[in-house]
Amino acid sequence: MQETVINIEHLSKTFTTEQGALVPALKDINLSVDLNDFICIVGPSGCGKSTLLRIIAGLEQASDGMAFYLGEEVKKTNREVGMVFQDYSLLPWRTVLDNIALGMVFSGVARNESLQVATQYLKLVGLGDFARAYPYELSGGMQQRAAIARALANNPRVLLMDEPFGALDAHTRILLQKELLRIWEQDRKTIVFVTHSVDEAIYLADKIIVMSAHPGQIKETINVTMARPRDRGNPLYGKMNARILSMLDH
């Protein structure tokens, strides 16, 4: 029996726009995420992927149903649930090292210690030489590496990732997917990773959740059992890709 970390029951979310119109974003989502799972959520743009992650993170409240973290209803953000965003989110006036130490600043860790830990995570993501650089001096890929290091340095139990590589070029993207897996293999933190790239989902996930839009619903859950590291040349890879893409078409 696996330990369930995140549990979502009959969750719906309807936004009210400023003009008062109702926008149904999620409808009756049921989902559970076990400890050490690497889960990918794929779906067309606007199907509510970000909203779902934000509710799990406690940044947004469900309209109906509930989200649980370790059996407790999520009502606000929690240091144990980290998140990496698609948009660049480093604080531009802090050095990269000071950004990575940010979570520890909030939790009152002594400065010496926090910088030491931050340096360690900086090296983990391959940015050892950029401690004193400012975010604007980094490429997009490097900024996302730093954002991942910042989330990990806070030592969360679960890492939520919202299209973290969505803005990167294809080459950097594949490089970072590999890096992410390398880091993940070290302690297999539970990861919920949102993407609209089916290829990325198959490369990364143990389990893929396919969503459809209007309103956002879960269409299908697919286990990926191919051995890691996965080979994009493997015919199974291509077959799965084609199958999920056709699901998204309907």
Partner: protein, 302 residues
């Protein structure tokens, strides 16, 4: 927009790259000459017209005006020197301006941070925004008359009385109004326009509301606040002449200009105008230097 300050220098450490230095000096020289073209043409044109008119009341020559500027400590038409008048004006502007900053920055930040405060105050403050500071004059005179800081502090004689009596409350109020809105607006929008993802990402890292205010909102809004403070200082300085035309004013560059006009000393008028321009530019330059140095991240981000 990347500026030349960001350019990397590939010369080996410890070895001075004379080639690049001379290139830089050359570029700087060309830029300097280029930026002087229009002023030189302007001054030459002014002098030509003045010499042609031969009427110093309409337009004094450059030489006549310069004569006053290069003797800043000379007593002018019995009103003290140019320098002492500029000094008095500067004190008035700084007092009104500092008060405006002290009131507008906290209100602006609070309105930007706290939605209900914005909805409560924005409409009300917006009503007063379009009113030119000068339009306040009659009301301000009715309120304050010729009361000054000396009156307010109950000082009736001595050296301090002389200084403080120059700081008329009516003038300070006019300058305050002028500086208030630019500072308020930039503090307000500085806080409102902070990218949401910065706040969200701090929140998921465990930031408290206080952390977010102190470590995210304030630093993110800071460049905008300082920018508004710079603009506010410029406006405050521009309100000077209208403030110093108020009754009870017997000194200051603004008064010097209006008084010189009544005795047909246009050369003093022009010299006064030039000093207002120069002092204003210096204040603006100092602020810009601070912004450039402290907020490079903002200029270079994105």
């Amino acid at each position: 927009m990347k500026r030349s300050g960001m350019q990397l220098n590939f010369a080996a450490p410890g070895q001075i790259d004379f080639n690049s230095i001379s290139k830089k000096a050359k570029r700087f020289g060309i830029q300097l000459i280029w930026s002087l073209v229009i002023p030189v043409v302007f001054i030459a044109g002014w002098d030509m017209i003045a010499n042609h008119l031969q009427n110093p009341v309409v337009l004094p020559t450059v030489k006549e005006s310069l004569q006053i500027l290069i003797h800043p400590f000379a007593n002018l038409i019995g009103m003290g020197s140019l320098f002492s008048n500029i000094f008095v004006s500067l004190m008035r502007v700084l007092l009104g301006y500092v008060l405006a900053v002290l009131v507008a920055v906290p209100i602006g930040i609070f309105m930007g941070y706290y939605g209900p405060a914005y909805r409560l105050l924005n409409g009300f403050l917006g009503l007063f925004r379009p009113i030119p500071p000068l339009a306040w004059v009659p009301l301000v005179l009715a309120w304050f008359g010729i009361a000054s800081m000396a009156t307010l502090l109950g000082i009736k004689q001595g050296q301090w009385y002389v200084y403080l009596n120059n700081l008329k409350l009516s003038m300070v109020f006019i300058i305050f109004i002028g500086a208030f809105y630019p500072v308020l607006t930039s503090a307000l929008y500085g806080v409102r326009n902070v990218r949401k993802v910065l706040i969200d990402s701090a929140r998921v890292l465990g930031a408290s509301e206080k952390d977010i205010f102190r470590l995210v909102l304030l630093p993110a809004a800071f460049p905008s606040i300082v920018n508004g403070m710079r603009i506010g200082l410029g406006v405050a300085w521009m309100c000077l002449v209208s403030a110093e035309m108020l009754p009870g004013s017997l000194s200051g560059v603004g008064y010097l200009i209006t008084h010189a006009y009544t005795v047909a000393r246009t050369d003093i008028v022009v010299a006064g105008m030039i000093s207002i321009g120069v002092v204003g530019s210096i204040l603006d330059f100092l602020f810009r230097a601070l912004e450039d140095k402290k907020f490079a991240w903002q200029r270079l981000s994105r």
